[in-house]
Symmetry: C2
Subunit: 147 residues, 2 copies
C-alpha cells in the first residue's frame, strides 16, 4: 500500500486512540495480507529498560484491531475486543514491531457471511511481536465488529 | 497506607515506566491486602469514547506488577510478566480502576519459600477493572520475581 494510505491509517489511530500517540505507534506496512505496526522503545520501556508488558499487549491489540478495520474497509463499523491472551517469551530489547496476518480464507468467509447476515461478527486473530528475527511475544484475541 | 507512601510508589512507577505517566496512572489505595490503581478516561479512551482495551490490559498488568512489588518490599527484585489473559465483559465508560488482591496465604507461602530458596519464583495474580460497581474486565497473569 502506498505511503499516503499508511500515514492516513496512522493518523486515524492517533486521532481516535490518544495512547497510540504517547506510544509513538506507526503503521510500518500493510500488503493486504500482513500488517506491521511499530513503536519506539523509548516511550514504551519498563523498569528493566526492555519493552513494558502493557505496551506490548496494547500494540498487539492495536494490530488485531487495525487489521480487522483494514480488511472490513468500513470506517463506520465498531470494532471491539472481547478477550485475549498473551505469552511473553523473551524480553524485547529494541523497537516494538507487531505482526498480524489476515486469517485463512475459510475463517474470513465465515466472518463475512455472519457480518452480512446480522451486522455483527467475531474473528479470532493471532499477532506476534518480533525482535531480531525472534518471536518475543505471542498474542491471540477475539475481535467483534458491530455495524 | 499513608498518602506519602502512595505518592512515592506512584513516582516510582512514573519514573520507571514512562507509559504510566502518559496514562495518568495513580495509586488510589493499598491496605496491605488490596491495591487499587486508577487512571482517567481522557488519555485512555478509544474510538468509541470508552476505555481502550490496550490501556485496560496495561493497567491490569501494572496492578499485578505493583502488588507483587509491594508485597516483596524489595526494590532490587526484578519482576516480569510471563503470560496473561483478559476478558472484556463490559465497556468502561469512566475512570479506569484496577483492583488486585493479595493471593491466599498458601499461595503466598509457596512463593516466599521458592523465592528464599532459589531467588526466583512465580505467582499467579487476578485483577479486575470495575466501573460503577460492575466488573467490566477480568485479568489473570503469571508474574515472575528474580533476585
Amino acid at each position: 500500500m502506498n505511503d499516503l494510505f499508511l500515514r492516513e491509517t496512522e493518523a486515524f489511530l492517533h486521532a481516535q486512540i490518544p495512547l497510540t500517540r504517547a506510544m509513538g505507534v506507526e503503521v510500518e506496512s500493510w500488503d493486504g495480507r500482513q500488517l506491521i505496526l511499530r513503536a519506539p522503545l523509548e516511550p514504551n520501556h519498563n523498569h528493566l529498560g526492555t519493552a513494558f508488558g502493557g505496551s506490548l499487549s496494547a500494540l498487539a491489540t492495536l494490530a488485531g484491531y487495525s487489521l480487522l478495520w483494514l480488511l472490513l474497509g468500513d470506517r463506520e463499523a465498531h470494532i471491539v475486543i472481547r478477550d485475549s491472551s498473551i505469552r511473553f517469551r523473551h524480553p524485547v530489547r529494541g523497537a516494538l514491531r507487531a505482526f498480524c496476518q489476515r486469517p485463512g480464507d475459510e475463517a474470513w468467509e465465515v466472518f463475512r457471511h455472519q457480518w452480512s447476515a446480522t451486522g455483527k461478527a467475531h474473528l479470532h486473530l493471532h499477532a506476534t511481536i518480533e525482535h531480531e528475527q525472534q518471536t518475543c511475544v505471542e498474542f491471540e484475541g477475539t475481535f467483534v465488529a458491530i455495524r
